[in-house]
Symmetry: C2
Subunit: 242 residues, 2 copies
């Protein structure tokens, strides 16, 4: 550390703190993307940043706060990107059956390219949200709600026959589906061994080779069709405004 | 322990072991239903049964094997019960729109009355399956696949316009949705505090008071409608056999 006098050191402090904060998040992200969120301990993160665990705990109250903060950042990066791509879809065609499939594909691609977000979708409710401060929970939830609202608005701009509320419902269901499908598509070693055994009973094969993007795309297509036919579409006699 | 000679003690061993095995499962179930699966440690279970942890580990290799075995039992109890109720629906009416809603309600009721199963649906892929032996994983997965196959058969018997494969797809999607919706409907204390704050941003209210049965029923209804309209129903020009 440079020692050009106490005044200078103090002035550098906020920037240093910000740097450390960022380094902790980056280390947690790298480890989680390599080993899986469930395998990464607070000690692992501290070790990678080169800090003592006690020093790290001045930045984040718990291991879970680090990952919840990463999930918050993921929502904040994901939302404007998919909004931009959805808005770009509005130019070439309308919102017929084919348009819906294109919309589903656009949403799925935007999620599939963020594997950490996909992992964290399942960990957030089960693990992360259970071991964080109220401030951390509030900050995360507000980012989540904001992301869903912004993307629902964009979906409604491109799928005009689907109500704004149905668009939000589609995203909420899609988020839950993405959480589960990601886990199914990334089985742990013991399941990989099991899935390699032959013969497997009955129709078990289809559970053993889940393609995340294909499965989520199919899910969104089916659910969107269902929403439109249940009360979103004029031809079903429903109220287009939900 | 009774000491009527070694021969007698040996003869009682299998029954005793079976009793212990059962006592461990019952203790884990009681603690998980009271405190939540995530809060129950191996030590908690051992303490409740009155065994040492080392003795308990002769029955189950890990804490996760105990809960995965409970999940396996839950599938095995759930499937025949819902099959029976679905088969009973075949008598009074056909399989029109109203029939579908009744089917969704029947499935939801059968799941909602098994809160341990609902909890374990989320824990199994994220936690349990990652820390068990191959034998435990195989036994659990076979029970899961069998349950889905049996219930899909029953669904197809009552929803004749929906293909057998679509019935299985509905159940798989429904299981993933149930896992996520159960967590949303049972938030941890820090989220209960957050949800009580006013004002909440935008449309956040609807995320703060999730009714598990109502949300899962709506999910199944929408998804079933979507499956039927995408390729299951004659009126959409699809192949009724999928």
């Amino acid at each position: 550390m440079s020692m050009k006098g106490a005044a200078f050191v103090r002035a550098r402090q906020p920037a240093q703190k910000q740097q450390r904060y960022r380094a902790i998040l980056d280390a947690a992200r790298e480890l989680a993307e390599r080993d899986g969120v469930g395998e990464v301990s607070l000690g692992d993160i501290a070790g990678r940043v080169g800090m003592h665990k006690s020093a790290l705990l001045k930045y984040f109250g718990t291991r879970e706060e680090i990952f919840l903060r990463l999930a918050e950042e993921e929502w904040q990066v994901w939302a404007p990107r998919v909004v931009e791509r959805l808005d770009a879809l509005r130019e070439p065609d309308g919102a017929g059956r084919l348009g819906e499939d294109l919309v589903a594909e656009t949403v799925v691609d935007s999620i599939a390219e963020r594997p950490l977000l996909c992992q964290l979708l399942a960990y957030a409710p089960l693990i992360l949200e259970r071991n964080v401060s109220l401030d951390a929970a509030r900050s995360f939830k507000k980012a989540t709600w904001r992301a869903i609202d912004d993307v629902a608005d964009a979906l409604h701009r491109v799928l005009r026959t689907v109500s704004r509320d149905d668009c939000a419902e589609l995203l909420t269901a899609g988020g839950i589906a993405a959480a589960g499908l990601w886990q199914a598509a990334h089985p742990p070693p013991v399941l990989v061994r099991l899935y390699g055994e032959r013969p497997l009973p009955g129709r078990a094969d289809r559970f053993c080779a889940v393609d995340f993007s294909a499965a989520l795309r199919r899910f969104l297509q089916v659910h969107l069709t269902g929403l439109r036919h249940r009360h979103g579409a004029p031809e079903s006699g429903g109220d287009p405004l939900g």
